[in-house]
Assembly symmetry: C2
Homo-oligomer: 635 residues x 2
């Protein structure tokens, strides 16, 4: 039954696109999602979730909260989207959160430079069978290093290959960086710039001090946030996968950099799933099934905490209904990773668009907290109290103000600051030089020149001190979930088409697990009658008490059509009221039916929805309702 | 126990402010909420919810979804915050969503003009006891009509009273309108303006056509949305009550304007609560307890559907823990209501800041759908199919192009359009005149003059036609919930202080009902021991299976301190592990304890949390643990 997407040749590609078209048509027709502001022609990269999509999204978020926040006792926060410039200046977004853009020189239309180059290379490799081997190698190399190209190189390649604007074929400008944040202005004066946050993480970092205190000044702890994030994409593509506004769910797990073990790692150590380490990518091998514990013990994954989250993310995605054979954890290549990151893995899900990064799990070391410490002047650090004081050696630099003043007059202060700012190595070298040579040349950057430091101008010593605690900047391990991307991939993985038969139309079905299904069940009075409607109401009441979401469909259409309708939005169970004392329950994928009494129905549905019983168990316990099954479904 | 806030005189006001300060201190200290971006000095009007606040918020939203969306089968949607200008142009926000602002002429600081005038009047009335009666009347009148004052009148009053900038005492500019929307730009070209939505409602209106179709082309139906909204307030005040970004939960109930009855009105007709109709406000009377059904039958509330929602909102707020004696439904005065609105009621909750509008429930008639129909050209209408075709009379205006051309030459087209644009009354009058006098004077606005229309230039007739359906623009009834305001009022209504005793400190408590409490219970191993920790884990597991949110507190501090900590964030039950076989359960407000076996504990907590039993019932069933109750609590 599985949709095979990794098929070669044109036939294969066509069927992938046909598959996607069928899924997307069903999704838009049933209002799982739709382009926003459609009556005004829509806006690229903005989508609405309609009623069933909204329920799926809210189920995914509830499960996320249960699986991560509640089970791991995380500290959830909820921060605004509007963010003042200073915060995003500190995080680096104001300066570096850019894509390279080219403009159509006649129309002014904007395009992503790397997309145009990528499309050109792919197209050439696909269609130009006469390409000489060295050209093939060149284009493949470009595709491999695309993310690393400087604006100059990108521009040069675009010129060299004669790439023009996609629709108009006009000439293109040189590439230049475009910041992807939506800018705005906070307050009425117009002088206080702000941005719509491009991620939720910064709201957690700036609260570190309060959260650490709230956690009893203890590490490790994790904070979490679910919320909207915004990226003003240059040219949004691929439906729900690359959009201008999206829901992120992010975790920042703060941990002592000297101890990244995890007490619950054993719970996930035996999990086995597809991993794609750096080495295998560089060697041209493919992802392979790996036991998580082994990936830690061999050092493939940097540390246990990172590994623990990889395992938890795997369980999260699998429980949602993501096909585990089309899910892999891919390690970032050196060129993909920020210089400060210790290790980084993406949960990638295969879709009709290829492998999609849906969750990033990064060990970002101390980068973020240090950046905000520097910018705000508030010390975002943790302390480890020693059980007994430790003796440590401490470098003490003691400049003599008097001597420096006599020697450097007005420059005294700058020289003094430069001396105090020396790191340990520099200071020890100076100490040695002064002891052997009485004086030493010393570069004072703020003066732009060297000065001569004499022995009487500074005392450098190493002192032994008793310390009662250690102060350090925690490392942060960040699992970051693109909720919209996960949901889109889930839609594709859950979709199948029931073939047309002699007496029924072709039918689209989403095989959502009850956890994410928009409703757990539907209630259908077989025919319009006050009696059946009353039974339906009794059942609805008992379902409500059992906490089972449901809808009653009292439209008079044939039961077959109503089954089709409920299958198409992925409702796992349908209860048909055809009697005053008992009803049938039909399961969506097997289309098998059982008969249960009205008193039992809520309990039975709850049992199978909550996973205490499987549908097979249930089928054993209750009489099957075989007679009309085929015919009603086929109606 | 109730905090009496409506007290006169300075002593009273002071205690209100003291009360507020205590609540706010507790809230900020326990991280229910805190100023956003605090390490950078914060931004006025932006707040974060910390861990317990986040849980309260998510419980309030879950209950909202259960109480409104699921129980009423509403169609929930989830639309982006970034909104293109055209949508907010149609809705009127681009032109009219403004406050009048004045600038400090020296510093450029901005202030709301009406706030300054209001503060001046209130202060004068409070403090200047020598004011002559005519002056008192004048200032009171200003306060009453403040919302209606034009920029000119406001500016004149500010000048007349010599009002200056609050801090600097500098002169102020004339008032001018400031648009409260955060503006941004969509896409990279910079030529496509957008705004952060000031409300979620527009996302529903623009989707009306799809949602109506999804609902089987049937009315009534309701759509709902929960999401962030943004208002760039000139000078945010009052903590969580007037902020620049907030969560709204909005319902748009679409209904046939000719039938606003509600099939479930009987369910709420007997509810009795404080209502404050327009008449009583104008007569200077106070709000009084009213049976909802009576407010409908006497015509105080415009229609049943509006009344049904007022009842449902009452139940929602009461279940959250809002004190029903400090909740009133106040009808808008004529000057508060938009010209198109049929009726409008605000659920107002009394807080230390006075009566706060927390939910607006408005019958907005057809305004919004008509506005988007006009702007988009997409017909946002509904149809009522007649069971059998109806004969209707239709006016037909048939100008003769030929005769008009001969008579008016180049002006022919404008005259023709003017004739076709006549309404029924005008056309019938012309028909009568032409029949009696052969010709008639007719004003063509687009020409700016009268022309003479003769009998041969136009045929006006009334024809009978069969119609199979009626086309109409639905009315919309909109309950709109300010979630942050509700939560803040809930905090105040739930707060109380347990007085200091000989052996215990003064203690702050939030008496949240289990529905909204951040956790339903805490688990405390009495002393640090592997054995008790293991029991705590077993209990935690059974609580998790029962769906009861909880935290385990294994810090070694005294049990009294841990009770205090859990009371202060409003957790209703605390389980203390002091034995291998049984534990105690303590209720927060009575501080009474019972002893139950480890096997029973989850069931007992679930029973009382879900409201199947009261704590009093439970106290009857299980042995009380009286011995140590007082002492542990006092520790």
């Amino acid at each position: 039954k599985k949709q095979l997407l990794a098929v070669a040749g044109d036939g294969g590609r066509k069927s992938v696109e046909e598959f996607r078209q069928t899924v997307v048509n069903t999704l838009e027709r049933k209002l799982f999602y739709m382009p926003s502001f459609k009556i005004y022609g829509g806006v690229a990269g903005l989508y609405d979730y309609g009623p069933p999509g909204c329920r799926v999204k809210s189920n995914v978020l509830s499960f996320w909260r249960q699986h991560f926040v509640l089970e791991e006792n995380m500290l959830e926060v909820d921060c605004p989207c509007v963010t003042p410039e200073v915060v995003l200046k500190a995080s680096g977004h104001v300066d570096k959160f850019t894509d390279l853009m080219v403009k159509d020189e006649k129309t002014g239309a904007c395009h992503r430079a790397d997309h145009l180059l990528k499309d050109f290379c792919k197209d050439k490799l696909d269609k130009d069978l006469s390409l000489p081997p060295n050209k093939v190698a060149e284009l493949k190399h470009i595709l491999a290093v695309l993310d690393d190209l400087s604006p100059e190189v990108l521009g040069a390649k675009i010129k060299e290959y004669g790439i023009t604007a996609p629709d108009t074929k006009n000439a293109l400008s040189d590439p230049y960086p475009f910041n992807l944040m939506f800018q705005t202005s906070i307050g009425p004066t117009g002088v206080y710039p702000g941005y719509m946050r491009p991620e939720t993480a910064q709201g957690i970092f700036v609260n570190f001090k309060d959260l650490y205190y709230y956690n009893g000044n203890k590490l490790p702890f994790a904070a979490a946030q679910i919320g909207q994030a915004f990226r003003n994409e240059i040219s949004p593509r691929q439906g729900l996968l690359r959009v201008r506004e999206f829901t992120l769910a992010e975790i920042e797990h703060f941990v002592d950099p000297e101890d990244k073990s995890h007490p619950k790692f054993a719970d996930v150590a035996d999990l086995e799933f597809f991993m794609f380490p750096r080495e295998d990518q560089l060697q041209g091998r493919s992802a392979k099934k790996t036991v998580l514990g082994k990936a830690i013990s061999t050092g493939t994954v940097n540390n246990e905490t990172l590994g623990y989250f990889i395992g938890r993310v795997y369980l999260f995605l699998k429980n949602l209904g993501i096909d585990k054979d089309r899910l892999r954890f891919r390690q970032h290549l050196p060129n993909e990773m920020a210089h400060y990151a210790a290790d980084c893995w993406d949960a990638e899900i295969e879709s009709s668009y290829g492998w999609i990064e849906c969750v990033g799990i990064a060990d970002r070391s101390a980068f973020d907290l240090k950046a905000h410490t520097n910018k705000s002047g508030v010390n975002l650090v943790a302390h480890e109290k020693f059980s007994e004081p430790k003796e440590v050696e401490k470098l003490v630099i003691l400049p003599s103000k008097k001597e420096l003043g006599l020697a450097f007059k007005g420059n005294q202060k700058l020289v003094l600051q430069a001396l105090e700012a020396m790191n340990e190595a520099e200071a020890l070298e100076m100490k040695a030089s002064l002891e052997s040579k009485e004086e030493v040349e010393f570069k004072v950057c703020t003066l732009g020149k060297n000065v001569t430091i004499k022995k009487n101008m500074v005392t450098i010593s190493v002192e032994k001190k008793k310390e009662h605690q250690r102060e350090f900047t925690p490392s942060v391990i960040e699992p970051s979930f693109g909720i919209g991307r996960i949901i889109y991939c889930l839609f594709e993985h859950s979709f199948y088409t029931r073939p047309r038969t002699a007496d029924s139309e072709q039918l689209n079905v989403f095989r959502f697990p009850p956890l994410v299904a928009p409703y757990k069940c539907t209630v259908f009075p077989l025919v319009k009658s006050l009696e059946f409607d009353a039974v339906a109401e009794i059942i609805a009441k008992s379902l409500k008490e059992a906490g089972i979401t449901h809808i009653i469909d009292t439209t008079g259409t044939s039961i077959g059509k109503r089954y089709a309708r409920t299958d198409e939005i992925g409702v796992p169970f349908a209860i048909t009221v055809d009697d005053k004392a008992s009803v049938t329950i039909r399961e969506r994928d097997t289309r098998k039916q059982i008969r249960v009494s009205i008193e039992q129905v809520a309990t039975v549905v709850k049992e199978v929805v909550n996973g205490q019983s499987t549908w097979e168990d249930i089928m054993w316990k209750y009489p099957s309702h075989a007679a009309a099954a085929a015919s009603t479904d086929a109606e």
